[in-house]
Amino acid sequence: MPSEPLPPNPNREFILSALRQNTRLDSRALDAYRPISLRFPSDPDTYGQTDVRIGKTRVLCSISCDVGAPYPDRKFDGVFSITCELGPMGSPSWEIGRQDQTEIVLSRLLEKTVRRSGALDTESLCIVAGQKCFHLRADLHILDNDGNLLDTATLALVAALLHFKRPDVSVEGEEITVYDVREREPVKLTLTHTPFIITTSFYPSQHRSDHDLIAVLDTTLEEEQCRSGSLAISLNRHGEVCNLAKYGSCGLEGLSVLTAVNMALDKAKMFDRLVKERLDEDEKMRAEVFGRKGVDLSAENERVMERPVG
């Protein structure tokens, strides 16, 4: 199938006129997200895999690492690559091997948001400068596309990076020992900040006019196909905007951009809280069920004080 079939005109008109009356097909508010589900693997030895669902859109992210040589012009940095392939599982119009426009936009925005903004501290992946470093690889699989791929994919990627633990390493002179997961506890990655992408879609409020565009968050696939433009804002909870990308043929006013960024900040804080909650739950679950203490390890012995000292 060469391209996704566009919704028929009656559907399109219905969605647009509903938006002009402040309603959506699933009765959500214009700035409300669909139910978000973020799950980590239940296997105790697997770190760095996430299964994220926003509504029906589903993305799976898996992080793996290997030891290799760094780039010759970046001797002190590790290597971090993000692969995102759109396959027929996500949508019947996607074919593996043929670069769709959606894929280019998705992979570029993920790269810019997570890699170029320095969210992952690549210097911490270096083992021996110029010789050995960690090659971190993030693979994203879109399992189902029901709109708002950018937000879902970034959430999956960032949550996976926060969850992932790389093998511990010790360097003695020229000898490097990479410890297995069973020998030493693996180490978390260092993230300098956690960026999220919030996509705002714009719709014309009157027939054939750019007057007063309606801003909508978290669009479903059908809503996305009717929009006249979108603005992808990447920011973290501190309000640092890492990336702005406007697509589509509508003209925005400066004020609309600033309003969209303010709305995005609230959502970024929401995402941040959600990720932290799920990570904490996962830690507790692993500690209880599998007896892994993780961060709670301490070097102190258990002492029983019979008499106060001194």
Binding site: S3, L6, V105, L235, A245, Y247, G251, G254
Partner: protein
Amino acid sequence: MPLDTSTYALAHLRLDGRRWNELRHLHAQISTQASSDGSSYLEQGNTKILCTVSGPQEQRRNAPGGRQQQAGAGSDTEAQIVVEMNLAAFSSTDRKKRARSDKRVQEMQFTIAEAFRGTLFTNLYPHSTITITLHVLSQDGSLLTACLNAATLALVDAGIPMSDYVSAVTVASAPSSDQSLDEVDPLLDLNGLEEQELPFMTVGTTAAGTGEGVEGEAKIMVLVMETKVQMGRLEAMLSVGVDGCRRVRGLLDDVVRTQGRRVMENKIS
């Protein structure tokens, strides 16, 4: 850092002697190639772009299926806009032959196509393709900006009906690490060195939409920012950018009118 030099602190002059709100020297010509439907040559400082437009022509049947989605909506109701960018190997300081499938270039092509999809009256030419080819001869910062400006001129030269020019400019925010520069204004129109050091955004606007011409509220057609900036600085950057775009639009308009006058004089004499 370009701003750390003593000249900026004392005289508020950048490395090339400009103040914060001064544009680089913009020189442009249209109708440079007689063989294409529309052509232009634009120099913004040391960034030099040659642009040719062909179209609207019969739809390219051999274009791969993926291209159909490149400029959005179905081609049976509007013309398809295809943008091709060629970065010459000698365009930057180090000679670098760019691969065709460079994602950065593809993304820029997509951004340019989307920007013009909003201003060109593509609904007048269903089942056709408008091809914009950009040849980058020299890069010194503000690449996307210069491409958009050059493409606007070439499209005007080709006579394709549009609602207004798309004029673009880059704006940088003052470095956030330096406290003493907290009140510094955003910098307009960056060169290559400044682009590498400072966080910046590319803004492209049209003045159309309300039918009030240049005096009406400008509409932002292109907004690209790839570096980290504090939220609070965005407002200042956007307003400086939109104002800069208005000035660039004036310059582009002058170029078109000069050419028009020349054509009229030739016809009369």
